[in-house]
Symmetry: C2
């Protein structure tokens, strides 16, 4: 008598995962992807999808929340201790491609979710990066004449810029992590201090 | 017998200018602004608008082309000679707000025009900035270990990022030109060379 409900729950869980996977793929490619397209990509009917997510906004919210949870777990596993410059280079090399992928999903979300909800959704991973930048500023390794939030935003923009340049054929994907890390390291260097070469800190 | 056609032509010119002004304002605020909204903001009927622009894409193309022409004329008037670092700071201070404004319009265009047309539209102003960056690289003032196009893209992203940070209340508008110039100067500095302070080069 208990096997049937358990199987049903497992089915539901599988459907939810398939829908969220499909939402992440479809919305990253096309921010305007419809619920019908996402249901089709997930291999479920629209009625099933609406059984789990009341509307498109709820679905987008759940897809972003899951992607950020996974990204944050990956970020938490990166050693951000030691010299802040080494930690920055390590962060870029190990996280840039995941951050860029989530960024495409976040862009889709920005058209649907409120700015407050968007901030809330990615506050945990952003605060990890902020903590590293602040630590670097306090240690004198990173410049303090510009706000921490500005340096964090700059790092994000350099990362997303690399993705755009790869898409446009202006940058080889293999070159991206070095270009991002070298540019961010330089942008963070305090005035009067020499710009570190990438080899020095990786 | 000639007064009437001349007056008609002047009327048409005024309408075209009003439509392009309205398109720039409406599309910068909302990339999805409709032709009907733009006609209303311009104070002309839709029939009049369609008399000058066959469709929404043609209107967007013309609005971007005009904004870029004006921006390029402003850029051409900036002295980009002398030390490349001083020229870079001058460029940022005198052009960032116009570049950011055109950027909002270009984002609206990206949804409608082909990537090739978008590149063609802003190739002239981009090549002016590229020439400065290349000259700086050749003179050893800017780093040569990263491609010229990467440095140019980075500068643009830092500028547009400043606009986003101002909108989000994370950066004071008055602080923006200094933050942009300081960040770009650092990002462009060759490894091993000291990051210049802003005062040094402005």
């Amino acid at each position: 008598m208990t096997a049937a409900p358990t199987a049903k729950r497992a089915d539901a869980q599988r459907n939810i995962q398939a829908i969220l996977d499909a939402a992440a793929v479809c919305l990253s490619k096309d921010a305007a992807a419809s619920v019908a397209e996402i249901a089709q990509a997930a291999g479920v009917g629209r009625v099933t999808l609406y059984g789990h997510f009341a509307n498109r906004a709820e679905l987008i919210d759940a897809a972003i929340a899951r992607a950020i949870d996974e990204g944050d777990a990956a970020l938490a596993a990166i050693d951000l201790g030691g010299d802040p410059r080494t930690a920055l280079v390590r962060l870029v090399r190990q996280s840039w491609s995941a951050i860029v992928q989530i960024g495409a999903l976040m862009s889709a979300g920005a058209a649907t979710l409120t700015p407050e909800r968007m901030l809330e959704l990615h506050s945990r991973p952003v605060s990890r990066v902020e903590a590293l930048v602040r630590r670097g500023q306090e240690a004198g390794a990173f410049r303090s004449d510009l706000p921490t939030t500005w340096l964090v935003s700059t790092l994000h923009r350099i990362m997303h810029g690399a993705a755009e340049d790869i898409d446009a054929g202006r940058l080889a994907a293999a070159q991206a992590p070095s270009a991002i890390a070298a540019t961010a390291l330089a942008a963070f260097t305090p005035p009067g201090h020499p710009v570190p070469s990438l080899e020095e800190w990786s």
